[in-house]
Structure formats: C-alpha cells, structure tokens
C-alpha cells in the first residue's frame, strides 16, 4: 500500500525548477562571497565590482584576528553567556509552558496573552529599557548583564505549551489513576515524552544566544568582556575599516555554530523545523 503519487514533471515543473535554482544561487551567494572576500587582500575587496575569486589568496586576516585581538576572551564570554542563556531560558520556559498548558490557576489566560503579546513589543523599546535597568543595577560589562535581558524567549514557552497540549489527556488521566503526583507527571511523563523538543530547543537557543549581537553590543563596552560577535566588530576599530579582516573574524565567529550544525545536524534541523511549526 506504499503510496507514490504520479507526479508529472511537466513544463510547470520545469519553470519551478529554473526558478528554484535561481533562488538557491541567490541564497548561497552571500555566504560564498563572504568566505572568498575574507581570503582577499583588503584592496581587492573594496573594488567597485564583484570578483568571484581572489586574485591574490591570503590568510593574513585570519592570522591577524587570531593573534592581534582578544579572540580567546571573546570565545569564553560567548560560551558562558550562550550556555547561561540556554540553560536558564529552556528550564524556565519548560515550567512556564507546563503550567500554562496543564494547570488551571487564576491568571492563567492573562499570563498566556502576555506571553503572546510580548512578541509584539518593538525590540528597541525593550533594549532601551534593558539598558537603563541594567545600568541602574550596575550589571553592564558583566556576564549577568549580557545574560539576563536575553532570557525573554516567549517562542520557547509557546513551543513547550504546544507540545504539552498535544500530549493526549489520556496520559495525564492514566497517571492520575496511577497515583502519580504533579511532579511525577511532569518529570516522569511529560518531559521524557518530549525529550526531542528539549534537545532541539536547547540547541537552537544556544545558536541564537551565540549569534546575538545587538544587546551584547550595547551592554558591553570593555573589550575583554565582549562576546565574539561583538568583538569581531572591534577588529576594525584599531586600524580603521577593513572589510576583509572583519569577514575573516566573522567566519571565525561562525565556526562553533557551523560545527554544532555539522555535529547535531539532525537535531538542529529538527529544532528549526520545530520552531517553524513542523513536528519532529
């Protein structure tokens, strides 16, 4: 009964093919071009036309980034803050998602609307507020200052709520018949039944946190406290604007994410599709 529909690749399919190949090229080009540019001497990069391959191949921008900058400290700062954001966000979201999905308590609906509404707040409003708040709390230029304002990820609560909602209520009732306490229901039934979601959300949160730019950029002014994504923008401060050098640093900053991607390829795909509404 294996179903395979007869799908005719007719001329309509042909047009789609051509279109999609064009889109694919447009998509992949910036990445390719970024890497190629980082291997060009600075004067080649700023030429006012597009060259697909360096005339002179050079690795000195990489050498510069690795030896002349505080890239080591930046990596550590990025790892600490990204892991902190991931652990705190996922664990609190898990509880919040469970409470909203499964418990009936006063204010539940209001809380849910608040979480949905927090999507709608323009980032700048929050950022300015966060800045003033963090300044008042003297947390600028600290790990806590980078981490705290990044903990608001309503999407993770929503995904958890969604997945907990989808657990058939039979399981909850079977657990009630089985004398399970609320903690047992959460830790023995709901979380294990949704391990995949937790792993996937953790990976994607880590990647988000690693790539975060705007807030770390505002929250940190001391070079040694910068995360890698902020640090790489400092590469030009000392010597003026050098695109190729910046691109080399950006490639270096992206390496852990690329590695994570290659290592957890299936989980990452699952995470992306998850947060895009595709069940794993």
């Amino acid at each position: 009964m294996t179903p395979t529909t007869v799908r005719r690749i007719n001329w309509v399919g042909g047009i789609f093919t051509v279109l999609t190949v064009i889109i694919a090229v447009l998509w992949a080009f910036p990445i390719y071009w970024g890497i190629v540019s980082s291997l060009k001497p600075e004067d080649e990069v700023v030429r006012p036309y597009i060259e697909l391959w360096p005339e002179t191949l050079t690795f000195r921008h990489y050498w510069f980034a690795l030896t002349q900058t505080q890239i080591g400290s930046w990596y550590i700062n990025s790892v600490v803050t990204a892991v902190g954001v991931t652990v705190l966000t996922v664990s609190t979201s898990l509880f919040a998602g469970y409470a909203i999905s499964q418990l009936r308590f006063p204010g539940r609906t209001v809380l849910w609307w608040l979480i949905l509404a927090s999507f709608m707040v323009p980032t700048q409003v929050l950022i300015i507020n966060h800045f003033v708040l963090m300044a008042n709390m003297s947390l600028l230029n600290s790990w806590a200052g980078i981490i705290l304002p990044q903990l608001i990820h309503p999407v993770i609560i929503i995904v958890y709520k969604q997945f907990f909602d989808q657990v058939p209520k039979d399981f909850r009732e079977a657990a009630a018949m089985d004398n399970a306490s609320e903690w047992n229901v959460l830790f023995k039934i709901y979380i294990p039944m949704n391990w995949g979601v937790t792993t996937a959300l953790s990976i994607v949160t880590f990647i988000w946190a690693w790539n975060a730019f705007l807030w770390p950029f505002l929250a940190v002014t001391r070079t040694e406290m910068m995360t890698i994504t902020v640090g790489i923008t400092q590469v030009y401060d000392a010597f003026g604007v050098y695109y190729a050098q910046q691109l080399a640093a950006a490639v270096l900053a992206g390496i852990p994410v690329a590695l994570a991607y290659l290592l957890f390829q299936r989980k990452v795909t699952q995470a992306i599709t998850l947060s895009a509404g595709i069940k794993g």
Partner: protein, 356 residues
C-alpha cells in the same frame, strides 16, 4: 466486597445536566456494560466512577467505601483507556510497574505482580519492549495488564476494542469474556457497540440522553426492550418498525399495517395508532401466500444467512432474515409471515408493549 453502588449521582458541565440522578448497583464479580450512542453520558458515568470527573451530587460506594471525594488513585479501581495510554518512553514492564512504584510498593512484590499478570495475559516475551514495538492487540493486552497488577476492586473499560480491526475485535471480545470468567472480578465496560454489549455483559445498562433507558440481561434487553429507543439500538440488523392501527374485532386484536394487511396479536392496549416492531428473524419468507407480500429491493447474502430488504405496497421498508442459501432475488415479490410471539407495539411516547 467489591461491588459498586451509585446513589442518585448527578453531574453538569457548564449548566448542562449530563448525568441526572442515576442510581445503580453493580454486584461483586459482575460484568456490567454501559451501552449507548455517543453523547448518552455512558463515558461520563464511567469517568465519574474512576474519579476523572467530579461527582456533583449523590454518593458513590466502591467495595463498601464512600469514594466520591477520593482522588482517582485512591478509589481502588483500574481503568483501561480507549487509546490504551501506554507511556511510550517506558517498557511494558515499566508501564505496568509505574502505578505500583508511585505507592512505594516493595520491588519484589511489584516484580511478582508483573510476572503474574504477564503470565495470565501470555505476554512474558513482551515485557522489555516499548509500546511502539507492539501490535494493536498486544498494546490492548498491556493496558489490561497494567490494570491487573493493581489488583483493584473493579476494572473500568472505556471502549477498549474500538481501536482494533474487525477480526481482532471479535477475537479479543472472546478473550475478554474468558478473562472475566477466570478472574471473576467486577468490571464496568463502556461501549457504543451493541454486539459487544450483548456478548460480554452479565447485565446491560442502556443510556440515552443522560439517563438510563433500561437495565437487564442481554436477552432481556433484546427480547423485551422497554422502549422504542432500546428496540432500535439493540440488535443488528435492526428491528423493523411499521406504522400500525390497532383495533379489536370479535374480542380478537388486529393490527392493520400501512399496506392493508392484518396481523392478529394479543396485547392489553386500547385501539389506536402504534408502531409495530418486529425483528428481521421474526419475518419469515414463504413460498406460498402468507400474511402479506413485499417486493425485494436489495438482497444481501452474508453466507450463513441472507438479509432481504423489502418494500411493502405502501412503500414501507422491511428487512427479513432468510437462510444462507436463500433464493430471493432483487425484484422478486415474496410472501411474508410474522412470528406473532415476537411482536412489539410502541405507543406515541415510545413505551414498549410486548405481544403475549
């Protein structure tokens, strides 16, 4: 010692009464089936016994213990869910042990009970599998096993066969009947399938519109339905209903059908308009002129018997049951006799009166 007593229990959802003062006694070791169409309240009633729905009024006694305010886990009942609700991340063994671990039972006792249940249900080999590795029938068995290990006062089944295919359903039905004979435990079983109810129940409780229509043994309910609803709901193929005018001539009672045929019968009823109910097996196809005639529209050969769907002259539909090798063909005019001992009359309120 493990009987269940419902005394005037009621429940409403958002102002709508869904269970309206039901009283019922389920004897120890008895298998009682709640039968009714969807929305009749049968599942709600079961869930009220289980503790998964609150009881708004009345009392519930399980094994002599007042239980309406107890949490589900404390009522000494075990439930088999329609979709089995086996925890997918636990092995069969862990699924069965979960409820016992939660009450901190000794591991050795848990092991003993799981082994016993596995033996009874012949699933020793499945204990270390995950639910996803089991067939539908095996899952069903594990769900029953999870109930058995609790050694409860009563088992509650919520349409346990509805996720199995037809052939497996028939087989599992027989297995359940054997299991009940062997274990002699109190069981409450909810279904909308009248065949399951007929074949499994010691007594059937027929629910309709949130109230009990009839309580009785399967054959009581089949032969002496208390109302038109019960008569129509129980039995497959369903009972035939014909418009009839009852009159008395020379001290004999006569029901005149829509096509003018007369059927003599004996009931204590005033003359007037009634519905005449007769089951297909009481409508006999004859080769020679008989009580009335009809035209065969569709003939369904089931192998061991044949259903003849007929139209009388006035367009009334009627189904007759004939033998497996029936010769009737679509379009034939056939003669019909009625077994007058199996006639029912229903008055305008749907109340049944049975021919003597």
């Amino acid at each position: 010692m493990s009987e269940i007593r419902l005394n005037n229990v009621s429940k409403s959802f958002g102002g709508v009464q869904v269970i309206d003062g039901i009283s019922l006694e389920i004897g120890s070791g008895e298998l009682v089936v709640f039968l009714g169409p969807s929305g009749s309240g049968k599942s709600t009633l079961l869930r009220m016994i289980a503790g998964l729905e609150t009881i708004d009024g009345g009392t519930l006694t399980i094994g002599g213990k007042r239980s309406e305010h107890l949490a589900p886990g404390q009522r000494d009942v075990a439930m088999v869910f329609q979709n089995y609700a086996l925890y997918p991340h636990m092995s069969v063994r862990e699924n069965m042990a979960f409820g016992l671990k939660n009450i901190r039972m000794a591991t050795s006792e848990i092991d003993r009970r799981v082994q016993d249940a596995a033996r009874i249900l012949e699933m020793d080999a499945l204990l270390d599998r995950r639910p996803a590795q089991l067939s539908g029938g095996q899952r069903q068995r594990v769900a029953i096993g999870r109930a058995i290990v609790k050694e409860p006062a009563a088992f509650l089944f919520d349409e346990p066969l509805s996720n199995l295919d037809a052939a497996l359903r028939v087989r599992t039905r027989v297995e359940l009947a054997e299991l009940h004979q062997r274990m002699q435990s109190t069981m409450v079983y909810v279904t909308h399938d009248q065949t399951e109810a007929m074949t499994l129940a010691d007594r059937i409780v027929i629910l309709n519109n949130c109230r009990i229509e009839q309580i009785g043994t399967p054959m009581d309910v089949y032969l002496y339905p208390s109302s038109r609803f019960v008569a129509g709901f129980v039995g497959s193929p369903g009972m035939n209903f014909l418009k009839a005018e009852l009159s008395a001539t020379d001290g004999k009672q006569i029901a005149t059908l829509g096509n003018g045929s007369d059927v003599a019968l004996s009931v204590d009823l005033p003359p007037g308009a009634y519905e005449l109910g007769i089951r297909p097996e009481a409508v006999q196809v004859r080769a020679t002129p008989a009580a009335t005639t009809g035209k065969a529209a569709v003939v369904e050969k089931l192998g061991d018997r044949t259903l003849v769907h007929l139209h009388l002259d006035d367009g009334t539909s009627l189904t007759a049951l004939d033998g497996g090798r029936s010769e009737v063909k679509p379009g034939d005019i056939v003669h019909l006799d009625f077994d007058i001992s199996q006639l029912h009359l229903f008055d305008s309120d749907g109340v049944a009166h049975h021919a003597k």
